[in-house]
Symmetry: C2
Subunit: 312 residues, 2 copies
């Protein structure tokens, strides 16, 4: 009989769960609200309830847990997760109090990357970079077939690569981070700027413009929105070029909410990369949309438990 | 008896050779001119002469060969080395025609990095980035204790990270690469600009200003030159910050000709990084000068042969 693994992906607004067999088949899934404001202990309690509901009487070989980094892996502690309001949360201990199962902790971008590697668009690649483009921009590096965490568990912060020191201010305080120029937040900002410039004489109020407003309008053929996507793609192409020159991967796998506009974005990103890349790189590099959607992190967490966890 | 390894580092102007025992003791060294214009076959012939002179009757367990990348490792071919004028040079075959010894080919920045890891400033680090700052800027990544080549042997091109799309044009054709902003060439350009701005009323002709002119003047206390070093250090700090957020290393080890001004550069680089880095990174990160000087590549090549090569 195949062993079964449980994957949990804790995000700012939702927690995704997946029960996966060792050959990668999804047996069950669940989704609950995070409600981070209730504090980590309550959040874990509700996740454990969902686990019990999802797992039932099934015997579990291991649990993979994806959490926003940076992480202190030696102590099983989430050092800092602004979108959860967590600081030094001993997440493994909190789970172990309620759950008698081996827990394997991993960075959320890395579990999503491992999901794509084992079950999605990253299959067959030993070196690829998973990038999630939503409100922010995050990354998970798969290097030489392994999860790359960085020396202190804080690698993969590719959204905070500064690519224009005169650019707009980022949430991190620097100017011109890739995230400040090409995330969902950046789309919203460029949208508000376009509105102020009178690009939509009968447009909505500035507050009404979000990242998905722009992607939706662009998909519907709205010219000012397409021009904003053009600019976003240019910055993404520059960021991926930098990562290519540094890490020379086989592929990029791009996920996150902004990728609902993949048909518009991908050809433009590739065009920018062809302009920026030094000779030799572009021909062998693939830029692909992620395949697993928002359950990808939970699936990947289960596969991380399968591939790197060990039974108690 | 300890085994002995030969390291060869082929650069644009000189070839360095080192005979090293397996415990890292340098037994002999040599240096010859590259004279790349004579073509790869002649260059290899003269290196083999130097090898015979250096090695004598000593039995060699392996040869490590550092060459400018990118490299096709499966075929032992240097794909493109502009500073040697080489394109698709079957360097391993050329050596094997003349030399009956196992040859281990590696990227020149990676052998230098491995030299620092085994015998220099990188000792004890499993994750560090070696950066050479001379006419250009190159890099060798040591990740999770191993040489990181990239999927196609072309990783580590950290000098071509674009950090200012409106910046000066780089040799690669892009604008605002780190190399265009912070290399020896960039020092010379900033020097010429300062001269045109009348910063040195009794200064030399613009042609007389090189990178080392500026570093030497700065070390002597010349204010306009120190201001140029300030700007260079700011760009380097930004570049190292990007690499830190992406790869979260334990250390940077900085080598190359420009590091003769390390006393001026290092504190300024660290200051810039403290400004740019997100919380948590700066305290645990070390920025160190390389220890081995221009023999480092040859020493590293010998240690690469020891650690990764295998006897025929």
């Amino acid at each position: 009989m195949q062993e079964k693994y449980l994957g949990i992906d804790i995000g700012g607004t939702k927690v995704m769960l997946a029960l996966v067999s060792s050959d990668g088949l999804t047996l069950k899934r669940d989704r609950i609200e995070t409600r981070a404001e209730e504090g980590p202990r309550k959040v874990v309690e509700r996740i454990v309830e969902s686990i019990k509901k999802t797992v039932g009487e099934v015997e579990i070989a291991g649990v993979g847990l994806g959490v926003p980094g940076p992480i202190d892996f030696s102590r099983g502690v989430v050092t800092l997760a602004p979108n959860l309001g967590w600081k030094n949360v001993a997440i493994v201990d909190l789970f172990s109090e309620k759950l008698d199962l081996p827990i394997y902790l991993e960075n959320d971008a890395l579990v999503a990357a491992w999901g794509e590697k084992t079950l999605g668009a990253g299959k067959g690649f030993e070196n690829f970079i998973y990038m999630t483009i939503s409100t922010g921009i995050g990354g998970g590096l798969i290097l030489d077939g392994k999860l790359y965490r960085g020396a202190f568990g804080a690698g993969g912060e590719i959204g905070h690569m500064i690519i224009d020191p005169a650019g707009p201010t980022c949430g991190c305080g620097n100017q011109g981070c890739l995230e400040a120029l090409a995330s969902g937040k950046a789309l919203a900002r460029m949208g508000r700027e376009a509105l102020e410039q009178g690009r939509w004489p009968e447009g909505p109020s500035p507050e009404g413009i979000t990242g998905s407003t722009i992607t939706n309008w662009a998909k519907a053929g709205d010219q000012p929105s397409i021009e904003i996507i053009d600019r976003q793609a240019r910055f993404l192409g520059l960021g991926l070029t930098n990562l290519t020159h540094i890490l020379d991967p086989q592929a990029f796998v791009l996920g996150g909410g902004v990728m609902t506009a993949a048909d518009l974005l991908l050809p433009r990103i590739k065009e920018a990369m062809e302009d920026y890349l030094m000779p030799g790189y572009a021909e062998r590099l693939q830029v692909l949309p992620a395949k697993l959607g928002d359950i990808g992190g939970a699936l990947g967490a289960a596969m991380v438990a399968r591939d790197f966890g060990s039974k108690k």
